[in-house]
């Protein structure tokens, strides 16, 4: 319980600090916020009036609280480029992002963990070396390059899958695989080394001395122990997926939060950039927190003290 409370408090503190950081990062260097809202012919007096209305002349800490207050009341403002309601945008694009991210997250673990286990039980065989080589490749090939290669192969040459778009299941396959590639490669490596580390432990000998079969010793006991470090890094995997989504969504034209954020930064659409980066930061922090919860649930040494 103390662990849970500690992690939750930590999560809330991180959330608070990072919301401040994101706010300041975008607001402080956001250039003249009035430029995008007023015609070029506007006078300096007009701009000053607008600044006053927008609260830009208030002290910066006050602006932060004003902004957070508006967020909490659901008033997210409009996009500067197409005047769309940011609250509507975030729901629509957030849904797409969550579909893609969840697919990638599942792939990372449902593919990475079994492959890592296979490599560990076939240690130093052809299978092991094959899997590990694939995992090195998975980490060395940048994902945008992998994305282009897969579009070229599966969309242009073979014509099996669409190259871009949303949101048919068929259109989900390529982006999800590309988004999951590096995380899967890392999970394979980590699962393998965690399995091997636990295979060397004293209690494995005890279980064998009790007459348990290798399948049981490895498949149940060693695996259960190896799961702990894997789960403890699940939060990083979530963060990684959020980060790479910024690139993968752009390449595959998947209209998620990442694509909108990148476009907003490029078009200097500050209200959108500000809120969407805040959303992604919150997702990362919450992802880490969920991973902490999973770690707590999986580790009896933390559950009861």
């Amino acid at each position: 319980m103390r662990y849970l409370a500690g992690r939750t408090v930590y999560m809330l503190i991180i959330l608070a600090i990072s919301s401040v950081a994101v706010f300041y990062a975008i607001r402080l260097s956001g250039g003249d916020a009035t430029a995008a809202r007023l015609p070029a012919s506007a006078t300096e007096a007009d701009r000053e009036t607008l600044r006053e209305v927008l609260g830009l002349n208030d002290p910066i800490y006050q602006q932060y609280f004003t902004y957070m207050g508006r967020l909490l009341s659901g008033d997210l403002g409009n996009s500067l480029t197409n005047n769309a309601l940011i609250s509507k945008m975030v729901i629509e694009h957030g849904r797409n992002s969550i579909i893609l991210g969840a697919a990638a997250f599942l792939l990372v673990f449902l593919v990475g963990v079994p492959l890592g286990m296979l490599a560990s039980v076939r240690r130093n065989t052809f299978t092991d070396q094959g899997i590990m080589s694939l995992s090195v490749a998975g980490m060395a090939v940048p994902n945008f390059w992998l994305a282009l290669l897969s579009i070229w192969l599966f969309a242009s040459v073979l014509g099996w899958l669409p190259s871009a778009g949303c949101c048919e299941p068929k259109q989900l396959i390529l982006p999800a695989i590309v988004l999951a590639a590096e995380g899967t490669a890392l999970t394979v490596r980590m699962t393998r080394s965690a399995m091997l580390e636990n295979l060397d432990s004293d209690w494995v000998r005890t279980l064998r001395a009790g007459g348990l079969s290798e399948a049981r010793v490895i498949g149940k006991h060693v695996f259960r122990n190896a799961l702990i470090p894997i789960i403890s890094l699940a939060g990083l995997r979530i963060g990684q997926i959020v980060g790479y989504a910024l690139i993968v969504e752009v390449i595959f034209g998947w209209p998620g939060l990442g694509q909108v954020l990148v476009n907003a930064v490029l078009r200097r659409d500050y209200p959108v950039a500000q809120f969407f980066s805040l959303v992604l930061v919150v997702m990362v922090v919450l992802g880490n927190w969920f991973a902490d919860l999973g770690y707590l649930a999986a580790n009896p040494r933390l559950r009861k003290i």
């Binding site: 004293d202 209690w203 000998r205 005890t206 064998r208 009790g210 348990l212 122990n225 040494r301």
Partner: protein, 326 residues
């Protein structure tokens, strides 16, 4: 004497590192009888644990393998038994207790789960029957509050309690043979005596045969019936316990006995055996103990002595001398 329960003959185990194989257990032979404790003593690195693991078929493959010899248990040779058949023997007919109770229990499962899993592996009983058996086994080793322990995780128990769990686990299926590898070394001195007491009580009550591996001569003198002394992968002397302690013949045995601090006698410098156990990759050509031996002859450097039986004792030495009081 009755016929032996377990009969080890010329057991040789090799380990392979960096492409070179070397023998860590060399031609070890001994018998184990019902209702008897055989002590196996020697410095660390002399092959005691590897001998035990070889008997259990638990040597770390593929680095290690049994290169020769037999381990007869009843009419079966455990060395040539299939892994599947060997699993039936392990934990049921022969069980083993390990040195470090802190790391020898899977930390992810409750005590009850660990015990019942082994029971149900060997006996066709229901979950609740297995739990009853496990509970009884825990009670027999006098683990306080066994019902609570069943639902606890290993980290919630002290080292002494965990070793009791290990003993209960090893004894709950009434094995014919128990191998205890340094069962008390990792424990506090006060707990050591309790654990040893539990172990002995259970051994006597069940008429079990026990192989007690230790470097603690005091423990051996107190509980063992016969003692085998190992050095550099082989048995150098074996005798009934009183004989071995009153009249040690091998210079190494004598050195071990002299090295035990004698509180009753004069205070002063502790005796030590000069030098150390040769690494298994580099065993001297003659008697392995010759470089450290104060009474080695020229012959000891060239010829490897055999283990010669002589009125109840077995001895591997060309030049035994009576023990001179230090």
């Amino acid at each position: 004497m009755a016929s032996p329960l377990l009969s080890v003959r010329d057991l040789t185990t090799v380990i392979r590192t960096e492409g070179i194989e070397f023998e860590v257990v060399r031609g070890v032979s001994f018998d184990m009888y019902p209702n008897e404790i055989l002590g196996l003593v020697g410095e660390s690195g002399c092959g005691k644990t590897m001998t035990a693991l070889s008997v259990m078929g638990l040597i770390p493959a593929p680095a290690a393998r049994i290169a020769g010899g037999t381990v007869l248990f009843g009419d079966r040779d455990l060395v040539s038994l299939s892994e599947r058949d060997m699993r039936e023997v392990r934990g049921d007919d022969i069980s083993m207790i390990f040195q470090d109770p802190l790391t020898s229990l899977d930390p992810m499962f409750r005590i009850g789960h660990l015990l019942t899993e082994v029971i149900r592996r060997h006996r066709p009983v229901s979950r609740s029957q297995a739990e009853a058996m496990a509970l009884q086994a825990l009670a027999e080793v006098e683990l306080p509050d066994p019902e609570t322990r069943m639902s606890q995780y290993p980290h919630q128990l002290s080292g002494g309690m965990r070793q009791r769990v290990m003993i209960a686990m090893a004894l709950m299926l009434d094995p014919d043979i128990l191998i205890a590898d340094e069962p008390t070394t990792a424990l506090d001195v006060t707990v050591q005596a309790q654990i040893l007491d539990r172990l002995l009580g259970q051994q006597r009550r069940r008429g079990m045969s026990m192989l007690l591996i230790t470097h603690d001569l005091g423990v051996v003198a107190a509980v063992a019936d016969r003692v085998a002394v190992m050095y550099s992968g082989e048995i150098v002397e074996q005798a009934p316990v009183t004989q071995l302690f009153s009249d040690p013949q091998h210079p190494y045995t004598q050195g071990l006995l002299r090295a035990v601090p004698q509180t009753r006698h004069q205070r002063g410098a502790l005796h030590t055996i000069p030098g150390r156990v040769p690494p298994p990759q580099f065993v001297p050509p003659g008697c392995p103990f010759s470089p450290r031996c104060s009474q080695a002859l020229a012959r000891c450097w060239e010829e490897h002595p055999d283990l010669v039986p002589e009125n109840g004792r077995r001895l591997r030495c060309f030049n035994p001398q009576p023990l001179t009081p230090a």
